[in-house]
Symmetry: C2
Subunit: 107 residues, 2 copies
Amino acid sequence: MKHSLDALAVREMMPGFRGRFIHGENVTLAYWNIDRGALLPAHAHPHEQVVNVLDGVFELVVDEIPHVLRKGDVFTIPGNAPHSGRALTSCWILDVFCPIREDYRAA
Amino acid sequence: MKHSLDALAVREMMPGFRGRFIHGENVTLAYWNIDRGALLPAHAHPHEQVVNVLDGVFELVVDEIPHVLRKGDVFTIPGNAPHSGRALTSCWILDVFCPIREDYRAA
């Protein structure tokens, strides 16, 4: 099934985090436009997550260790690992989750 | 774990398809530089696949139906669906697979 990002609904899931979501059979992809300075509060989830920085600079803290991620960096977060973050610039990020993020399905 | 695409080994898995691979717990991400005109032979695999066109134009044929995918297009291919393709321009594509593509692990 073809999806065009421009045609997908945009949902602001947290202040400064505007996401577009695509669900497959066992994975969810989340494309995020993130405002400079936006904060990702500390949280954890059983889903593994792979963060792909497509543009911008994002500081990701995983298990209390900060990592500065730039365009071309990819970070694999194991399931249940606590993480938080902050957009050091405006960012364009693709997160891959497995299994599906049921909480990201449209209401 | 942080991965920088520039630091990953590049492997030409098929003529004109140069890939970089990242394996998580249950997903494999494959970043492909594809030459214009390169051909993806028809094949199928049990893994679901999500094709993300990050740059370029790729013609993807799934279940015998052709789809022209451009930057910003995403295509979800169910497990076991026969697919093939052709790069209409040089392309930069991110494929997400679930479960892991064991055949893409480094030898």
